[in-house]
Symmetry: C2
Subunit: 228 residues, 2 copies
């Protein structure tokens, strides 16, 4: 691992912090992991991300970088000799950014709402939204598979894989909470294989939080969301 | 203007299409402007952006690029010999992406909700949210001014300027609708000067829609939002 001056303000349950950890692992970058408790937020977090006061923050020396996708792009641009997290071709890069934004805007929003909402009918509607987005993502992954790629990013894990893969723990939590699998062989044959491949990659293995642990944190999460 | 194979699917009132127009102007790139009516959506739009079916879409030859910020980054990367839309330093680039995302996530959301909401108290709360974000943006711009920069991006218009500047028409519309100025000298001395400078730049001049025209389109906009 390269010796760097990197600190990550994160939390074990945060999919956004997980993204940064995976990116740092892929680039073989050493970092100090600082586990934030969030209540109260540390002074370092508030100073480093005064606008949003949210994790993750990557501190490169004394420079804070915030927002998981922006941090991934920063890592890829600064340590550009290692494996690439974004494609080298400008159009492919635009497409990777498009799918990462899709996952952030559509998937995460529906996942978050399905967890927070109290009304059963509304929850059902959000679960359907998640399922719709899974079908869209499966369609995109099938295109990649037809081109002989194992990941959205090609042969190796890239931005889109990290963005979606970071949600596997929360997806498992939602499955546990609602008593049904959401990523299933019949509807998402490529995603099922992709998820196994992703989770067992040496740069990811052991980092995705177990759904049961997330379920027990869910109530805390609900309080966090209400207060933010 | 360089001869390119570029088509823009946009609409005169769209701040997101406006962003792309300004970026193309700065890079002196010729393009065919295709004005979408949105009801019904053209087959070209639906084919080019099957996931969101939204403008703007930039067609580079037969390749569609969607989402305004992604399009701006694409333009900057492909035509990299002209003026830069993003800073050359990786950290400065991360900061530009951070502020562009802030404007998209905080500012636009509150602006949209303030226009769509029927309840007066709720509207007041959204207007306060807009004002809070204006104070944050003014604070960031003051830092740039202290460093002798006229724009967020430095001496020239960059990503953050385009992202926020594209909203000036809609900001004017909200001011007209609510009978009060929001960007004001006492609270936002830098933003007031910046807005004048931005709007009179040769690459922007005449492109920001007049608030009165947007007000008369507001009712159509409300219907559009409800249906999407």
């Amino acid at each position: 691992m390269a010796n760097t001056n990197l600190k990550l303000l994160g939390a074990w349950f945060s999919p956004f912090a997980l993204r940064v950890k995976i990116a740092l692992n892929i680039k073989s970058l050493e970092y100090e992991n600082i586990e934030e408790t969030l209540y109260p937020k540390s002074q370092l977090l508030v100073q480093s991300n005064p606008v949003h006061k949210k994790i993750p923050v990557l501190l490169h020396g004394d420079k804070p970088i915030c927002e998981s996708t922006i941090i991934i792009e920063y890592i890829d641009e600064v340590w550009n000799s290692g494996p690439s997290l974004l494609p080298s071709d400008a159009y492919d890069r635009a497409m990777a950014r498009f799918w990462a934004a899709y996952i952030d805007d559509k998937c995460i929003l529906a996942m978050r709402k399905s967890v927070l909402v109290e009304d059963k009918e509304a929850r059902k509607a959000y679960l359907e939204e998640i399922e719709d987005s899974l079908v869209t993502i499966e369609g995109e992954l099938q295109k990649c598979c037809r081109e002989g790629k194992g990941y959205f990013g090609g042969e190796e894990i890239g931005l889109v894989d990290i963005t979606f893969g970071s949600l596997l723990g929360f997806m498992g939590m939602i499955e546990t909470m609602n008593g049904r699998k959401m990523i299933v062989e019949e509807k998402h044959p490529c995603l099922v294989k992709w998820a196994d491949r992703f989770a067992s990659d040496p740069n990811v293995k052991g980092l995705i939080p177990e759904p049961e642990k997330l379920v027990s944190l869910m109530w805390l999460g609900k309080e966090l969301e209400k207060k933010e």
